[in-house]
């Protein structure tokens, strides 16, 4: 029986530890959308929603939904004190202009040099959609990608060069998966942590480009 990898919730929990106190943050679809629930208690961050909210709070309570106050996924949300509304242009002045401290997006492929493909699977039906992902990827001060290390059919998602349509080139700083935490550096991919029960060699087998690590690689911590 294969060893248990981390769950999507655990990937989100680990990624939440990357958020510094006071950061302005945008979370994308998929696993990133789970992260808000795991922000450590001693950390305060402000969530940006690209439809025009800074200071977005949790999902609105039942009975308190206001469909003029939704996130970019149409989910009715709340605000935290100090929140602001603005137009779409200002929402992307914040993304593209480099004003957001950390953005966390889902990924289909990440390359060795930090290229990201996350908006379209080749051959999929329908038109696909870029949304705000390209603006966010280009402008983020730090871009983290959270995803499963392998696709459902087992193929590797961390690759030498992306074969899927790109979202942005040389934009990813850190990858958090169900097997590892990996930093993208000028020298290549550096294996920072491995999931409990896995060896660096096992993570390397599931990763196309070479991973750099020396000595003992720490386990992925879910708490500080």
């Amino acid at each position: 029986m294969p060893k248990a990898r981390m769950t999507r919730e655990q990937i989100a929990e680990r990624a939440a530890l990357e958020l510094p106190d006071g950061a302005y943050v945008n979370l994308g679809w998929g696993i990133p959308n789970l992260i808000a629930a795991y922000v450590p208690k001693d950390v305060v961050v402000y969530f940006h929603s690209e439809n025009g909210i800074l200071g977005m709070g949790p999902r609105a309570k039942a009975g308190e939904e206001d469909y003029d106050l939704v996130d970019a996924m149409k989910v009715p949300v709340s605000l935290v004190p100090g929140a602001a509304y603005f137009s779409q242009v200002d929402a992307h002045v914040m993304t593209r202009g480099g004003h957001l401290d950390i953005c966390i997006l889902g990924g289909l492929q990440v390359s060795e040099r930090g290229d990201l493909a996350n908006w379209r699977v080749p051959g999929a039906k329908g038109a696909g959609g870029i949304g705000g992902a390209m603006d966010i990827s280009v402008g983020a001060q730090k871009l983290i990608v959270t995803m499963e290390h392998n696709a459902k059919d087992g193929h590797r998602k961390i690759v030498k060069a992306c074969s899927y349509p790109l979202t942005a080139i040389e934009c990813v700083n850190t990858i958090v998966t169900d097997l590892a935490v990996i930093d993208v550096t000028a020298e290549g991919l550096v294996l920072r942590e491995v999931a409990s029960g896995f060896t660096p060699e096992e993570v390397q087998q599931q990763t196309e480009p070479k991973l750099w690590y020396g000595g003992k690689v720490p386990e992925m911590a879910l708490r500080k």
């Binding site: 779409q88 242009v89 290229d115 038109a127 603006d135 349509p165 080139i169």
Partner: protein, 216 residues
């Protein structure tokens, strides 16, 4: 309502505000569906949700060409027509979609942007290195008409919006020859606080009062 859209001809280019179900001029859209103008070129973040938002215009096959950032999995009629090759799509990053409109409204014909460099979005666009970084040239984007939604107008057309329903609306107001706004209410000129007006009246040409339709 029908009077406000009565002159929109076949082949017109129309922008539609709205994002995430909020801030769509749904009454104007339904008016345009009744008017039946065809061969439309539309600019919108997404392409409808079932029959809602722009969905009815796709269902009626009134749209030939779309510029959008996220057509959306719920855009049933659009997706069917796209897969069948019956509608053209120009897919644009969301921040570039609105910045192209802002540029048009501001009299800027084109601008260099880092978004989409090295991706499919850059195909056919001029690329230039400025201070050591790669950029592509994006063209301004305008329209014959903008259909927008605001919460409140005064009789001159000064507008205030409600919460995240603002989104694309104030930008589109600046980028069309004729801007038609759908509002929940019209108040006397002079009663809106000038400090809170988001869209000044110079950008607004027609006002229609209608009860908001939400497509939750």
């Amino acid at each position: 309502m029908d009077l406000a859209v009565a002159d929109i001809p076949d082949g017109a280019t129309v922008m539609f505000g709205g994002f995430g179900g909020a801030g769509f001029p749904n009454n104007l859209i339904q008016g345009l569906a009744r008017r039946g103008a065809r061969n439309l070129s539309v600019i919108s973040n997404n392409c409808g949700t079932g029959d809602g938002e722009l969905g009815i215009l796709f269902k009626n096959r009134q749209i030939r060409h779309v510029v959008a950032a996220f057509p959306g999995p719920g855009a049933t009629y659009f997706q069917q027509q796209f897969d069948a090759g019956e509608v053209e799509l120009e897919l644009v990053p969301q921040g570039i979609l609105c910045e192209r409109m802002r540029a048009f409204g501001a009299g800027i014909p084109a601008f260099y942007s880092p978004v989409g460099v090295g991706t499919d979005v850059a195909k056919g666009k001029e690329e230039r290195v400025i201070r050591g970084k790669r950029y592509i040239l994006e063209q301004a984007l305008g329209a014959d008409y903008a259909f927008i939604k605001a919460q409140r107008a005064d009789r001159m057309g000064n507008l205030v919006y409600r919460k995240a329903a603002r989104n694309f609306n104030p930008i589109m107001a600046t980028a069309a020859k004729i801007t038609i706004v759908e509002v929940d209410e019209v108040v006397e000129t002079g009663t809106l606080d000038p400090e809170t007006i988001v869209t000044p009246s110079i950008f607004v040409h027609r006002i229609v009062v209608a009860k908001g339709i939400h497509n939750a």
